[in-house]
Amino acid sequence: MAAPRIDVRKTYKLYIGGAFPRSESGYSYTALDAKGRFVANAALASRKDARDAVVAARKAFGGWSGRTAYNRAQILYRVAEVLEDRRPQFALAVQQSEGLTPARANAVVDAAVDRLVWYAGWADKLTQVVGNANPVAGPFFNLSTPEPTGVVAVLAPQGSSLLGLVSVLAPVIVTGNTVVLVSSYARPLPAVNLAEVLATSDVPGGVVNILTGDAATVAPWLAAHLDVNAIDLAGVAGDTELATSLEVAAADNLKRVRRAPATEPDWAAAPDLTAMTDFVEIKTVWHPMGV
């Protein structure tokens, strides 16, 4: 009789600069499923991991923002394809993390793939919608175009661990920003799986950096970091005190802040453009006519 097989108990790592390092602190924590059973260990990101992630994101910014919008669209579409290929893995992760039925979990993965495709399509269209050729009182072409803000810290939603995650991540990178993302604390598994998808789908290393851990300990460092240009506080929805302190810290270098909602929104609802336009800067160029 064969001996019973020993479980492989996984300890996932962070995703920084295209690599999968352990947390600098050496700490990890236990991720449980919706019924309180062990799922896996996740790395507990520290402030130094956040610092390293910002350095990686800054390094990747020039290359990513310099790519053509068309190319960014292709890469985002590729992410959707790979995610689609890994459907069973993601459905299981969502099912475990969020306690959904298999059918509901599958629907969430569908929605996440569709959301990525939707944002991928916007890459080379946003400029037409929010940019403009302005009429001015002089012989000039006057053109306004959206430019990426820079390094954006994103606190991913605590509840919706895949659809919510994709809904805050995709609109930020599609315009050319790079991201340091702090995943849901209690439900890190879909974020860890998404890191593996990103690493194998043409997204340059450093464009998305994923930290699993507690937003309350990592986010203050990101909010105060002078080399972070904007922060999305979706992950601290409902925690007014923390959200306020993060906004105060972010004011130091005039970061753009996407404020925390009072409660986590319904991520299944159709998105609007503000998720993208909140993290772009409008650049206006004057060019003499006839030259």
Binding site: V54, R58, W221, A224, H225, L226, D227, A249
Partner: protein, 326 residues
């Protein structure tokens, strides 16, 4: 400074350079370097944790030790003036930030740097004697050096002829260093320019050669021994610097004279710099923890030191937007 060791020891060393044969016998008689041991020792010293107040002291000391360097074909007087201003006042928002030790430029820009630095106490170092290749006739090297000294350079960084060294023509290398040191004298009298001798350790192949080159340069009267020009990879590494520190330590034991050490090239982060400082303290002792005896040849290191300094002072991470682009 400790007293001279027995006259016999110094007597031995003066005989060493009498001929090519005695010099070779001496250099090849130096004990070999245990490569694995040196690398392990350097790695273990690199694991020390320097935090809070000790870190703040280390950062300020490292800033004071920086030879802020620009050695590009595209250097302009404007760039050198900007660099000199930065050397005098690295962090314009913080008057407590110390100045760097020196500005290091090509000889033709010494006058520009000198004019900008004035009597601020920041020295001008010039790379002379055909840096970075070191392959020019001696009279050209000497003329290069004299020009730099005449233009007001306080320090001269020369590079040895690695071809001659690797072929075993040690006396030729020795005599070149002696001659360049002579060219560091000021014609009208006054304090001669300090001489730093670059080995370009990335081209010396073995740690044994680094040890031999160190002794050779010290015997020839170098004030400083320096790892690299920064134009060859690998440049400064911890094990190479360890071997050189051991050489200056042994040289002081033999002669009572202190020689400075300058790792240059490839040191970019505060963490790297602190590792070097730990090594200096452990290998040669606190006497060398001074800009007179230990320097960093670097350009980007200073920005990282400033960002770390601001992090310690304000409690939040700084970024490259808040330091100059050099």
């Amino acid at each position: 400074m400790p007293a001279l060791t027995s006259p016999g020891a110094t007597g031995d060393l003066s005989d060493v350079t009498a001929s090519d044969a005695t010099l070779r016998r001496f250099l090849h008689g130096l004990p070999g370097v245990d490569q694995v041991g040196a690398e392990a020792r350097a790695a273990s010293l690199g694991t020390r944790s320097i935090k809070t107040t000790a870190k703040a002291q280390a950062i300020d000391l490292a800033i004071r030790m920086v030879d802020l360097t620009t050695l590009e074909g595209q250097d302009t007087p404007g760039k050198v003036r900007a660099l000199a201003s930065k050397a005098m006042r690295p962090d314009p928002t913080d008057a407590t930030c110390p100045a760097t030790a020196a500005v290091c430029v090509y000889p033709d820009l010494v006058g520009v740097a000198k004019q900008q630095l004035g009597d601020s106490g920041v020295n001008v170092a010039a790379v002379a004697a055909a840096v970075p290749r070191g392959r020019a006739p001696l009279d050209i090297k000497l003329a290069d050096t004299r020009d730099a000294v005449a233009a007001g350079a306080d320090e001269i960084d020369m590079v040895i002829d690695r071809g001659a060294f690797l072929t075993g023509r040690y006396l030729q290398v020795f005599e070149e260093i002696v001659a360049v040191r002579g060219a560091c004298e000021r014609p009208g009298g006054g304090e001669p320019a300090h001489l730093k001798v670059i080995f370009e350790t990335g081209e010396l192949q073995t740690y044994d050669n680094v040890r031999r080159a160190s002794w050779l340069a010290m015997l020839a009267g170098a004030h400083f021994i320096k790892t690299s020009t920064g134009k060859v990879q690998p440049a400064a590494t911890l094990p190479v610097t360890l071997v050189m520190l051991e050489a200056v330590r042994d040289y002081r034991e033999a002669t009572g004279q202190m020689v400075g050490v300058k790792p240059a090239g490839g040191i970019r982060t505060t963490k790297d710099a602190v590792k070097y400082l730990v090594m200096v303290n452990e290998v040669v002792g606190a006497d060398w923890l001074d800009p007179d005896w230990f320097r960093f040849g670097a350009s980007t290191l200073l920005n990282d030191l400033l960002m770390q300094r601001s992090k310690l002072a304000t409690g939040r991470y700084s970024g490259p937007d808040y330091v100059t682009i050099d």
